[in-house]
């Protein structure tokens, strides 16, 4: 008996250790999940800073599966939205005013990031132009079109229903309006949509766009995303 006691205590201790181990593992697992997810449960989320109120999406939503083709003929899916920030604009190449203005502003933005960041942030941002006019904006046409604004930008096209899927996920409206029987224009949401590195529709910048404003706001968004709202 006297011999048993320390043994039992040991056994108890080892059981406690096991329980603790399991708990620690669960805790670590949970921490890892929240750290990886970056969209922590509401209780853990910071209040949206005032100046980001109309920019941040209150309920970030995961961009669901979609399949489009880039200007080089490669597949582009939701998987390419992960691990980097994405600025996305919907437009069409036959748009002579708003679309070139926005694409040039996106080019300015990319230059601001390239200039201002000492780390590799700028390499972690991609710029997408998604056509709402796939009939005219074929892969071949976009290959000529998009490098005119920036050689690193990606232009996406594909069947209308595939474009719709992405546009709906990003809350972007579009509609064809005929000027004559043959000539048409496309009305389209003018916002610049920001997708976070977890592939969530995270923020939107309404038109008119100013690269320097977006640049400043993006830094705040990134801090908020990384859990430091100050």
């Amino acid at each position: 008996m006297t011999m048993d006691y320390p043994f039992q205590r040991l056994r108890f201790a080892s059981n406690l250790g096991k329980i603790l181990d399991t708990r620690v593992i669960f805790l670590l697992f949970y921490l890892c999940l929240t750290a990886c997810d970056r969209n922590p449960p509401e209780s853990a989320q910071f209040a949206i800073p005032k100046d980001l109120k109309y920019v941040l999406n209150e309920n970030p939503t995961k961009i669901s599966t979609f399949q489009l083709t880039d200007q080089n003929g490669n597949n582009f899916t939701e998987k390419q939205l992960e691990g980097k920030w994405t600025f996305m604009f919907f437009g069409y190449s036959h748009c002579p005013d708003v679309c070139p203005i926005t694409l040039m502003e996106m080019d300015d933005l990319s230059k601001l990031f390239a200039k201002s960041t000492s780390d590799k942030t700028e390499q972690n941002i991609q710029y997408l132009f998604v056509t709402v006019d796939p009939k005219r904006d074929t892969v071949a046409h976009l290959k000529n079109y998009i490098p005119y604004f920036n050689k690193t930008f990606t232009a996406l096209t594909g069947p209308m229903e595939n474009i719709d899927k992405l546009a709906t996920a990003a809350d972007i409206f579009h509609k064809i309006e005929y000027i004559t029987e043959k000539i048409y224009i496309v009305e389209h949401g003018s916002a610049l949509v920001l997708i976070n590195p977890s592939g969530y529709y995270y923020a939107r910048f309404d038109a008119p766009h100013y690269a320097s404003d977006i640049h400043t706001t993006f830094e705040k968004i990134k801090r908020y995303y990384n859990g430091n709202p100050s």
């Binding site: 437009g91 190449s93 036959h94 748009c95 002579p96 005013d97 708003v98 070139p100 203005i101 040039m104 502003e105 080019d107 300015d108 046409h141 000529n144 079109y145 998009i146 005119y148 604004f149 409206f173 309006e177 000027i179 004559t180 000539i183 224009i185 009305e187 389209h188 949401g189 003018s190 916002a191 309404d206 038109a207 008119p208 100013y210 690269a211 320097s212 404003d213």
Partner: protein, 169 residues
Amino acid sequence: MSKFLFRISLYSLVFTLIFISNVSAHTSGGIAVEHAWIREAPPNTKVLAAYLEIQNHTAKKRSISAVTSKQFDKTEIHLSTNIDGVAKMKAIGNVDIPAEGKVVFAPGGLHIMLIGAKVPLREGNSVNLIFHFKDGSSFATDVSVKKSKSKDSHDHGSTDHDDHMQHKH
């Protein structure tokens, strides 16, 4: 006698010059265009936009009913709007220039939409635009194609593109 003839020819020259200047003022009908440019389109893209300031130096309101160009399939006056986050372009039937006033066609707003360039246009090319007025008169002007830079990020709302271009170069 030769002195007399000289005087006659001098007078007639002066009169002719006055007459010519009167004629040119008459054809422009008190209309002047400034800060005009057309944004170069990316390769293979045949829709362009023209921007300019059109002034009415007469005491009467002038109304633009159409703008045409032989270099394009179709030309329309458009207004870009952004309502509830949706970019739309609305065709405008008539553009009134108030007496002694002006109307500005600028990026993101009123512009002349040039649809279907018959010959590809690059920077340095020029486009002949004809403004047709409701009163039956017209005004022709050549506008050159420019590579545009985006609007200055510090200059919210400004439409003075020329200034900005100088900044960038």
